[in-house]
Symmetry: C2
Amino acid sequence: MTVAPPSGRRSIDVHPAWLPAEVFRAIGSRRVLVSGDGLLVDTVHAETRTACARFGGSVTRLSIDGDADLLLALTGSTRADLDGDLGDEGYTLGRAGGRTTVTADAPVGLLYGLFHVARLGESAFHGDIATQVHRPAIRRRMLDHWDNVDVHPVMGQVERGYAGGSIFWRDGAITDDLDRVRAYARLLAASGVNALTINNVNVGRTEARLLTDRLADVATFADIFRPYGIRMHLCVTFAAPMVLGGLATADPHDEAVRDWWAATTAQVYRAVPDFGGYVVKADSEGQPGPFAYGRSHADGANLLADALAPHGGVVHWRAFVYNHRRDWRDRSTDRARAAYDHFAPLDGQFRDNAIVQVKYGPVDFQPREPVSPVIAAMPATRLAVELQVTQEYTGQQRHVCYLAPLWSEILGFRFDGDSLEADGDADRDLGASVAAIAARGGTLAAVSNVGDDPFWCGHPLAQANLYAFGRLGWDPTADPAALLDEWIDLTFPAGSVSDPVQLRQTLHAIMDDSWRTYERYTAPLGVGWMVNPSDHYGPAVDGYEYSQWGTYHFADRDGVGVDRTRATGTGYAGQYPKPWSDVYESLADCPDELLLFFHHVPYGHVLHSGSTVIQHIYDTHFAGADEAVAMRDRWRDVADAGLDPALYARVADRLDEQVRSAREWRDQINTYFFRKSGVPDALGRRIH
Amino acid sequence: MTVAPPSGRRSIDVHPAWLPAEVFRAIGSRRVLVSGDGLLVDTVHAETRTACARFGGSVTRLSIDGDADLLLALTGSTRADLDGDLGDEGYTLGRAGGRTTVTADAPVGLLYGLFHVARLGESAFHGDIATQVHRPAIRRRMLDHWDNVDVHPVMGQVERGYAGGSIFWRDGAITDDLDRVRAYARLLAASGVNALTINNVNVGRTEARLLTDRLADVATFADIFRPYGIRMHLCVTFAAPMVLGGLATADPHDEAVRDWWAATTAQVYRAVPDFGGYVVKADSEGQPGPFAYGRSHADGANLLADALAPHGGVVHWRAFVYNHRRDWRDRSTDRARAAYDHFAPLDGQFRDNAIVQVKYGPVDFQPREPVSPVIAAMPATRLAVELQVTQEYTGQQRHVCYLAPLWSEILGFRFDGDSLEADGDADRDLGASVAAIAARGGTLAAVSNVGDDPFWCGHPLAQANLYAFGRLGWDPTADPAALLDEWIDLTFPAGSVSDPVQLRQTLHAIMDDSWRTYERYTAPLGVGWMVNPSDHYGPAVDGYEYSQWGTYHFADRDGVGVDRTRATGTGYAGQYPKPWSDVYESLADCPDELLLFFHHVPYGHVLHSGSTVIQHIYDTHFAGADEAVAMRDRWRDVADAGLDPALYARVADRLDEQVRSAREWRDQINTYFFRKSGVPDALGRRIH
């Protein structure tokens, strides 16, 4: 399996991910009509033409009246026969009279419709299908690459990248493998992603110049992604007027600074007319920001928003702001409070094209965190919710950890207390859910897990995370198991494996619960951060305990956990609206999985599950490590299933490492807590 | 203060350390006769000529009968008037009839005699001095540089270097500042060092080539060090026959391998006729070695010894061999045992020119370890004892830590139980002391603390460690406080500071006890390793606790320490001869400072001091951190003493860091043990 014949030098052995040629067999073996004009319709035309050339079908691009099995037609206007506007990206899909029809108001909708038909395969061409209307729930599905142009001495070519080098940059220069980038654009479009950043939010000296004298690089990539409906955004440094413009200040109230941003932005739009906008990490972990001038984050964000507004661009301004030089001795402050404390008071002060981008949890992408209270705290501000596809704290693509269930929980979390269950009903009222807030704000963002690895993501099964992210952005109510089915069907088409049913069962058995498995063998009950500080891989129970990072568990011989109540703790629980402020405040009501995030409790504290905290730690760690073994063993079931041998071997190798690592987690965590608590395991298992 | 006028580009602002021009005032203002021939006599001549040119004296190099205040005369033969042979490096020093006379049998003795006169200063030229005989107690005083030719991606230009880059290498090439190297040679000779390695024992690809096609670099350095009586040794990789010679094996029993080493070594001696020999780290921390071929370390060492023997060279074969991929769960093995277990059975199997180089302690340069039992276990083998001048685990030249008291304790340690006290009596019987064994074997080795820092060592006061190392090699019974006086007198000559008495008092108050101060605020009672694994700086109590390195403290809620007894532990205590095997075995007799190295005890265990273990931890950590504050404050006493402002400021800056770091150690260690033990401080001090 390879991508379409590449002209570059490195694509030859790249895995096709969820777009092997086979996916287009059903379309490619039929008579297709493509109707409409524009770049994106050209893409649809090219896609179908390639498929038909391979599988014996035919494509006509003339009218909508030819004799055809599939009609892909741009209507060019809003139609009265539909329930509302199809919007910029929506499409209809239906089948009647032996013809499958996709229509869209705007060209990119036609492309999304085409990929929908591809997902359906043969079933798109049998019987009748009542016309369905599909629109994305969230306007912008943005993938952020933390790729560095120059290799960073500590972080490397891709910060928190676990899939090799960058597909965009190599040693300071633009990649010479643009075919790979093209293949990536196609994959992203098929998953629903429509916005992209190609450089790290930590903007170095070279990276800063993408905004000015290296703008041609951005334009090159924009030209590649444009035919797939993906707009280019750029991470910029707040200090750009000084670093690039030679000004003495970057103060947002300074006239020269405002002028510089206006002129610079106009220049960007001359090079990239459909440029999406800026992404900024300011006053965070050493990045410059408005605080240096006594200005607020709203001042900072609005400065860039004003420069972008004339051109229709937006600024994504990250809320990941906290003091990263904390004194561990100081228990009066709490990093979890920081984003809310910084941003909630600014609600209503941001321009309409300034989007505050909030990590899903209050701290930093731990396997289990409560949903960030900032998301509920800024009703008068557009928000982006930021997820992390790259598995920084969730096994670094050496562990299988299917993240869609985690994201589904987050997106379905309702601040009014009535959590949304994933049911695949896109029309369901999102209410006060996180997804609804992201839909209102306009962006679901995530950090990419892609590198120049032949399997894109290091771990072949981690492709499912990338796929599911895009699909959840389109429909946050989608069922993670159903998305996994989609991904399996596309990635391992029925004809390419000997026993598709067995493969599907095996992958579900390995992946469905893998996030909770990972949670079981790592830090318990939501406390987080028991990870090696150097690389965020593998256990170090006290690794962050006496550090500057504000990430502590406070385990002593009597108990463990962080008191974040209003009554006796940091008061963080009070940042939530009711009922959650009360639920989290209450030791009796707090969900088990977040207990140690909100409360410091004795080891003998009895959970809702009926177990004590200490016995829960032992039980889940033994169970989690056993489940890793079971995952590895299950993979052997498909050793003869006809999978690409390189893929099979890669997954097998990584599962071996997962088993080793899970055992290490189990033993270190259990030993640590046994040494501290002195409480023996009720089942008498071996603790070292 | 600068070194003698340099021609290189970087020496201008280099601190002269213990050889400012002023040191030679007494000599340089007198009439000097230099008698004898040879390179080293030329050096003596040049040194005196430079001094006299500066201070108005005169030098004659003709006969021994001129009218002179100082005669430096090579006798060229053994003389009956002396108590035994002066040896290769000995000299006599006396004064009568208004003339100070230094004689030596061999040229380098004359140079050492000259530096002795320089140390004496004016007092060398007043009254009569009965003729003294001086000979080094230990034949070889070798300084090992862990400098890399290429910058290592992790370890940098100098592994465990805390004084900037290498003075020998820069980015893969030989330095362009050979004047600096010359100044270093002179400093080393004045301290007594007579052997040197200029590359890391971890030998990389580029470094390996110093043995063959980059031999010219070695010859360049040999030419610089030769006039100062210092012989060049080279760290080589055991795999050299494969890496450099293209052979398929490095098996010591293979004829082609033996031939390769013989031919290669002959070539080395053609380039460097007085080449000292090889230093090898084999089968250790990933370096290749004889184990790969089922051969012993004696086989490996003898291979190189045989190649060196025809030329008079020696191989130093390091005993630092242990399994660095341990499973922390496995309590049946013990890294402390490793060197003895590997080497003691080989006693008697090594060639006479193979020297087994043993780190002073059984693990790795911790601030407090027992003396390595290997040193007593190989009576039929020549041993080198290895110290560490670079402060890897003792504050990295950011902390003041005068190490001569530690080394003095080690060198004076007697395996027969009667420890040698430092009293400066060089004629005293060293008995079964470590110094005596090193003297018999022939080498005291140490890792250097020098880099291209203007103060040579990062911390100006760390120069005293380098100086004291050489002097202790010459006379292991020297009193550390007296050596400090020597260093102070040389480094800060009376005329250069406003109040020499106050400066001396201040430096003694800061430095004399600084090693024990460091011990107090770091890991307690000999347990070691509570340090950051990444850089070995700053506290991480559990940093090594679940690692592969074999360095554990086993602290739990009840107690702490490693049971290394024969009765119930790893049996390490049994590696010592009596009485130490019994002393360490006994909980009652084990010295407090090593208690946790040998025993796991409850926190309430009462020490010989009368304190409990837990209260001792609290008390020493509060005391140590307070002492760091006192050190910093004392330095301010000499703010107006006329010191070089850059030196004053550098020391002041580092003392600030020491205070900060000592407080961090105090708080983390105390908090860790309070959380684990639950025992409050008897004095009610603040523990976090």
